[in-house]
């Protein structure tokens, strides 16, 4: 395997989408485990074929576009989220010889894709011409724009320590020590901002079922809804692999397992952690989320950056 070859690109694309689809089953089983119930266990061994059943269902459902919706943006919105999240995987180094591009603007590229991803939920809600959808996308817009800020600032400590925006260089810079040790605050802020960016529970305020139906995707059905759904799981996989690369040494680990397995194991732990978050923490109110971000996370991430910079200058 060699970096950027057609085979590698195809394999990465297939694996990432396959993992995202499998997560539908993993999440429901794990939630069942943690909430002391069974979860889907009827279709196939351990309920594993539930994924296939769900896929058949979602592909054969009626794909309905409401007559009052703005058709152009309505169709465009779900495609944006899938595209930008999949494009972000292009700069992730999975192992020493597996990856698509080694870019000297790797982290910035991921941040740019995340900020363009915000259009997906905004356009989806706006074009639906539905009160609940509009409320959901207003919430999503404010939430994603705010948490993008802390996400970017929390990463700057890692960039300053490794001296590069290239994700592969960042992994190499962690040979002696994982960045989670000197950048623990940065790691926690990135984790929180990552949950908010992929708007998963407990920060799923844009689609809070109990308050505003399903938020921005209230009017979506069939495969268009499926793309929002899979896009969310892809975002989860992306955030987990970014945490692995930036703070936990990427593919590095003892030599008895191949590097790519270490990468998958570390990312898997974070994916399970995100699912556990969903099972454990209730959803905050919208204003609580905003004031928590701007009044607590922003000063903290700026302080973290200042202290990191001062320590680097002292050495």
């Amino acid at each position: 395997m060699e970096i950027g070859s057609g085979l590698t690109i195809g394999l990465i694309l297939g694996t990432v989408i396959g993992v995202a689809a499998m997560l539908i089953w993993v999440e429901r089983r794990l939630l069942g485990l943690w909430q002391e119930r069974l979860g889907p266990n009827r279709v196939g061994p351990l309920g594993l074929f539930q994924v296939v059943a769900d896929m058949i269902k979602i592909f054969t459902k009626e794909d309905w576009t409401p007559p009052f919706a703005d058709k152009f943006s309505f169709v465009l919105a779900p495609a944006i989220i899938m595209t930008v999240v999949l494009l972000s995987f292009a700069v992730i180094p999975f192992a020493p010889n597996i990856g698509i591009v080694d870019s000297n603007i790797g982290i910035l590229f991921v941040l740019a894709m995340a900020s363009i991803g915000a259009y997906s939920v905004m356009l989806g809600g706006l074009s639906s011409d539905n009160k609940y959808a509009l409320l959901g996308s207003l919430r999503a817009a404010a939430q994603m724009v705010s948490y993008e800020v802390f996400m970017g600032i929390s990463l700057l400590g890692v960039v300053a320590l490794s001296g590069s925006f290239d994700l592969r260089e960042i992994v190499h810079a962690q040979e002696d020590m994982w960045f989670v040790v000197p950048q623990f605050i940065g790691f926690v802020i990135f984790l929180i901002a990552g949950v908010a960016e992929s708007h998963r529970l407990p920060f799923d305020i844009p689609e809070a079922e109990q308050e505003i139906c399903a938020g921005y995707h209230t009017e979506y059905s069939g495969m268009k809804f499926g793309m929002f759904f899979v896009g969310e799981y892809l975002g989860l996989v992306l955030v987990s692999s970014l945490i692995t690369v930036l703070f936990f040494g990427g593919w590095m680990g003892p030599a008895f397992l191949p590097p790519v397995v270490w990468f998958a194991l570390k990312s898997g732990v974070f994916i399970c952690f995100f699912i556990l978050l969903r099972a454990a923490i209730p959803r905050p109110r919208y204003d609580q989320l905003m004031s928590y971000g701007w009044l607590f996370l922003l000063p903290l991430s700026l302080l973290n950056l200042l202290v990191t910079g001062a320590l680097i200058l002292m050495n």
Binding site: D70, I116, L138
Partner: protein, 160 residues
Amino acid sequence: MTLLFYLAGAVAVISTLCVIVQTNIVHALIYLILSLLAVAVVFFSLGAPFAAVLEAIVYAGAIMVLFLFVIMMLNLGQHSRDQERSWLQARGWILPGTLAAVLLVQLLNVLLVIDHDFVPTEVGVLEVSALLFGPYVLAVELASILLLAGLVAAYHLAKK
């Protein structure tokens, strides 16, 4: 890279034209985002990846989100589309068309005498930052003071 440059340039020009003639404001905004992204690719093909990604983050990713945010609040329907259409009469094109044509002729004149053997060298993040915080540090500080003034004003207005 040359092919990439011309392709992205063409996308930028065409989508900017679409921004002007589009009567649906949301569609116009999507074309504007596309145009900004195309300009980012132009920067990239000219050897400025840092400028390219900043264009995507700041313009396409942040400023346009605020535009869309305002449009969401305004509830613009058929009425605004009719108004836009009435403003796009052929008569309104004459003066701006002539002025733009004059500029285009001048631009083509400049392009004809320019040295065509220009090979772009890649300018990385480090070079840009060394310049920004070296000889141009005063401009950076002034810009940050300007932004701070805007921030304080916005806080004051929102508090009222």
